[in-house]
């Protein structure tokens, strides 16, 4: 998504990206990013929790709009506190917890 952000921004439209993969975002370096410490697949917010989705989206837009340094990543003050999901960070994309369907072969075109 970072490449897309750079292309849109280059064409004269500002972009804000919400991200939960700090390292990938830092590598691509899009103009404005807001980091959300949630598992991948939840950058819109928690499932079935519209209040959280509104808060996440509002925070991302407001923090993103306030960025003045190109390439900055700012942290959204939100916590993933879904019961039973404690320690999700250790399981995310760990070899013993391969994500659903992730059996494709990475290749470069």
């Amino acid at each position: 998504m970072g490449l897309i952000a750079r292309e849109i921004e280059q064409a004269g439209v500002p972009t804000i990206a919400v991200t939960s993969a700090w390292d990938i975002t830092a590598a691509v370096c899009p103009p404005r990013s807001v980091y959300l410490h949630y598992p991948l697949g939840h950058q819109g917010g928690k499932p079935g929790d519209l209040a959280d989705q509104i808060a996440v989206t509002r925070t991302a837009l407001e923090l993103g709009a306030a960025i003045t340094r190109p390439g900055a990543i700012v942290r959204a003050p939100r916590r993933w506190d879904v019961p039973g999901d404690e320690g999700w960070e250790a399981r995310a994309y760990a070899p013993e917890h391969t994500p659903v369907g992730a059996g494709g072969t990475p290749s470069r075109g």
């Binding site: 490449l3 897309i4 952000a5 750079r6 849109i8 921004e9 280059q10 064409a11 004269g12 439209v13 500002p14 972009t15 804000i16 990206a17 919400v18 991200t19 939960s20 993969a21 700090w22 390292d23 990938i24 590598a27 370096c29 899009p30 103009p31 980091y35 410490h37 991948l40 697949g41 950058q43 819109g44 928690k46 499932p47 079935g48 519209l50 989705q53 509104i54 996440v56 989206t57 509002r58 837009l61 407001e62 709009a65 190109p70 390439g71 942290r75 995310a92 994309y93 760990a94 070899p95 994500p99 659903v100 369907g101 992730a102 059996g103 072969t105 990475p106 290749s107 470069r108 075109g109």
Partner: protein, 178 residues
């Protein structure tokens, strides 16, 4: 005989806070048996991102929304397994019951249950109603991230999405990866 290709120098380590998940390292470990995927790197010092200041406050901004969560309408063709460069237009007021999620690269359990996890349409409508943003621009656009070819993203996907945002006369593009 062509000269032996010198291995590319390793890019400098990324500046990453200690508590975040290091997805690049974990993906390398997951696919340890294969040729390492070369993630796109832009050194902020030599390849800084382009920069366009916001022309107006959020509350007056028309916001275009793009999600790489693989969301589509039940009536639309699902996404393919990998390297699918296509996109689907999603009405802003789509009934969540008509939305589907097809994506190979992340655990879609929650997104299938509530597509708002990766395409927060109801949240954006609420923020427009509250006046936090001027308005959300229809339609939202969704595609599948995890396109393994940066060349194809640069050549095909990014220009198409750029044109989508320009045609919509968006003041701001909000990008939600998955």
């Amino acid at each position: 005989m062509p000269p032996a290709r010198r291995p590319e120098p390793e890019p400098p380590p990324l500046d990453v806070p200690p508590d975040v998940v290091r997805y690049i390292d974990r993906t390398r470990a997951l696919y340890a048996s294969q040729k390492p995927y070369r993630w796109v790197r832009h050194d902020p010092a030599t390849e800084p991102p382009p920069w366009t200041p916001l022309a107006r406050p959020l509350a007056e901004s028309a916001v275009a929304v793009i999600s790489s969560g693989g969301v589509h309408l039940a009536s639309q063709e699902p996404f393919h397994f990998r390297n699918d460069l296509s996109d689907r237009e999603i009405p802003l007021d789509a009934d969540p019951a008509t939305l589907r999620v097809t994506h190979f690269g992340y655990d879609t359990t929650d997104a299938k249950r509530d597509p708002g996890c990766v395409l927060p349409l109801a949240a954006l409508r609420a923020l427009a109603a509250e006046g936090v943003i001027g308005r959300a621009l229809p339609p939202a656009l969704s595609f599948v991230g995890g396109i393994y070819s940066a060349r194809l993203v640069r050549a095909e996907v990014a220009p198409r999405f750029r044109d989508f945002v320009l045609r919509a006369r968006a003041d701001l593009a909000y990008l939600v990866p998955a």
